[in-house]
Amino acid sequence: MGTHKMLTGNYAAAYGAKLARVEVTPVYPITPQTHIMEKMAEFIENGELDAEFVSVESEHSALAVAIAAQATGARSFTATSAQGLLYMHENLFVASGLRLPIVMVLVNRALGAPNSIYPDLSDSLDQRDTGWIQVYVENAQEAHDMVVQAYRIAEDKRVLLPMAICFEGIIISHYMEPVEILDQEKVDNFLMPYLPEHVILDPDRPMSVGQIVMDDSYYMEYRYQQQEAMDRAKEVIQEVDEAFGQSFGRYYGGLLSTEMMEDAEVALLTLGSLASTARAVVNHLRNEDGISIGLVKLRMVRPFPDQELSELLSDTKVVVVLERDVSIGAGGIVYTELCRSLNGRNGPHLINYILGLGGRDVTFEDIKDIALLSCSERHTTTIDNPIRWYQVRGL
């Protein structure tokens, strides 16, 4: 058994990184991530963690330092939010292109303008094409556990891709919850040290890392191999979830988890902290009102569980995607992704609710109202306005 503590999501994530014995941690402050940076600095300063803390002068350098350190053979860790993540953008592709299993915590925050420190998942979802594995977690415990799992997933030889653990700022980053801090000895058995063979800056084995490929040489093959690695990550994610469950007693379901989805006519599909609220609504409607409704908690956005979702939702009548993000001009990002998963199938009606942007509260009652309305739409032949902005003022 580990020890129990009241922790914010940020501290829970930092404890995860400490247990993973990260070796180089370049971080730049930004609300709501800053506590992770401070906690890591404290661990290292106090001698609780043997690592190099680097006070970089920008997020662009934070990821560059992580890339260089990881390429030299050290396990690297960083964290950021919103503007900081976008400042890193160029280097996100570099980390995945170089197949460096860096792990980063992304504390979701709205992007300016206008400026807000409250959550909007658009910052990390916007980066879904950069070749990083992305997991979305719903509470501090899951954040803690996933930092440890992330290194094992990312460093697996079948994968070798960077990985981001994403959670909502303030809601998860700043509120305290009881968290079981994993036992160090058990984590050491679960996670082996990083000993790279594929990419290493070693004078005894000189190689160019990030070389220029001219004209029609191997650029396309590089990309294809990344895609293959992402595909293989699916099975590795499931395996690691299983192994983690066996060691520590918590199973998360890997790519996604479901609740009461057997025979469900209506499914609420969501991610992050909204999953907790939606779960309560689903339980309530099933138990109190006998409504045939279930929950799909999407965990991985990359790799996206296309196959798994299309099988899971084949008999569902209505799928309601609840999400705290938007791709302006298209709709909710997860909704548009799901359209791809279900492409060409005579599947369920899809309804998309864009809600809670900038941290606007999404209550039990809100989700319940949406769920009930959606239930009433299950027998219609077509859905009007499938993309809906929930409770926008002035409409």
Binding site: E23, E57, H60, I67, T72
Partner: protein, 295 residues
């Protein structure tokens, strides 16, 4: 006195057949650097013409080389040296093994887009040697103005001559109070290698070498004249060879009598449009600078 050819190791870590332009001083520089620092080194590369001989598949230096992006070559020094530090503590790299970490950047990648990264690594005094290969423009993209382009110079983005003055990057770096800052020239290899050896053998920390690097393609002079132009820059007093060793400044070469700046400007097509007044203003600046440098 022994010549450079006698003192430098015979082994080549930088090979012929590279794609640099004829007359490019980068080839010499890369040979001197790799010979002086040797096999036990790691390079962090910026987006510069120097990436071409070092990192175009299947060509490469015979030392490990990392290219991240244009700006963060100094952050590359930071990351590599931080990793070496912790891996030595953990015994994954032998504690007594000396690995020289260095970065190579053009004037644009060093002093413009990479300025924050460079200043950050210097301020943290991260362990490595940073080379600014100053060919006074963005050459790899085809001769566009940088902050290091001298006043009045033609580039493809300043077709009537650059109105602003050249940014004094070595002086900015010296203001960071790092262990070592030096200016070097490809026409003075002994001075170059001596300074590089000094930087190599110093205690851990950030060392900065600024290499004046005449570019026949961009400066518009015949490719056989690279060394001549480089030497003229020093003999006219335009490019001052100096070092700042732990804060104390030393001018390493004082021409007996400085040649007129016109001797340096005339052979270069990029200065073709200069008026006598322009030339005089450059001369005045040089004379003033040397008055400041008297002691």
């Amino acid at each position: 006195m022994r010549t450079l050819a006698e003192t430098l190791p015979k082994e080549e870590l930088f090979h012929s057949g590279h794609p640099l332009c004829p007359g490019c001083p980068g080839g010499m520089m890369l040979r001197w650097i790799t010979k002086t620092l040797g096999k036990n080194s790691i390079c962090s590369m910026a987006a510069t013409c120097m990436a071409l001989p070092a990192m175009v598949y299947p060509h490469s230096l015979e030392i490990p080389c990392l290219y991240i992006a244009m700006a963060p070559s100094p952050a590359g020094i930071t990351g590599v040296s931080a990793a070496i530090k912790i891996l030595k503590r953990k015994g994954r790299i032998p504690a007594d093994r000396k690995i020289s970490v260095f970065a190579l950047a053009g004037d644009g990648s060093a002093g413009d887009i990479g300025m924050a990264s460079l200043s950050g690594a210097a301020e943290r005094n991260d362990d490595g040697i940073f080379f600014c290969f100053d060919n006074e423009a963005y050459m790899n993209t085809g001769i566009q103005r940088s902050s290091s382009t001298p006043r009045f110079s033609w580039t493809t983005s300043t077709i009537k001559g650059k109105p602003e003055k050249k940014k004094d990057l070595p002086r900015i770096m010296a203001a960071h109070d790092i262990p070592y800052v030096a200016t070097v020239s490809v026409a003075y290899p002994d001075d170059f290698v001596r300074k590089l050896e000094k930087a190599r053998d110093m205690e851990p920390g950030f060392k900065y070498l600024h290499v004046h690097s005449p570019c026949p393609t961009g400066w518009r002079f015949p490719e056989s004249k690279t060394i001549e132009i480089a030497r003229l820059a020093v003999e006219t007093g335009l490019w001052i060879l100096y070092e700042v060793d732990h804060g104390s400044l030393k001018v390493n070469f004082r021409p007996e009598k400085r040649r007129p700046i016109e001797d340096y400007l005339r052979p270069q097509g990029r200065f073709r449009e200069l008026s006598q007044k322009d030339i005089q203003s450059i001369q005045d600046r040089i004379d003033n600078r040397w008055r400041d440098m008297r002691n």
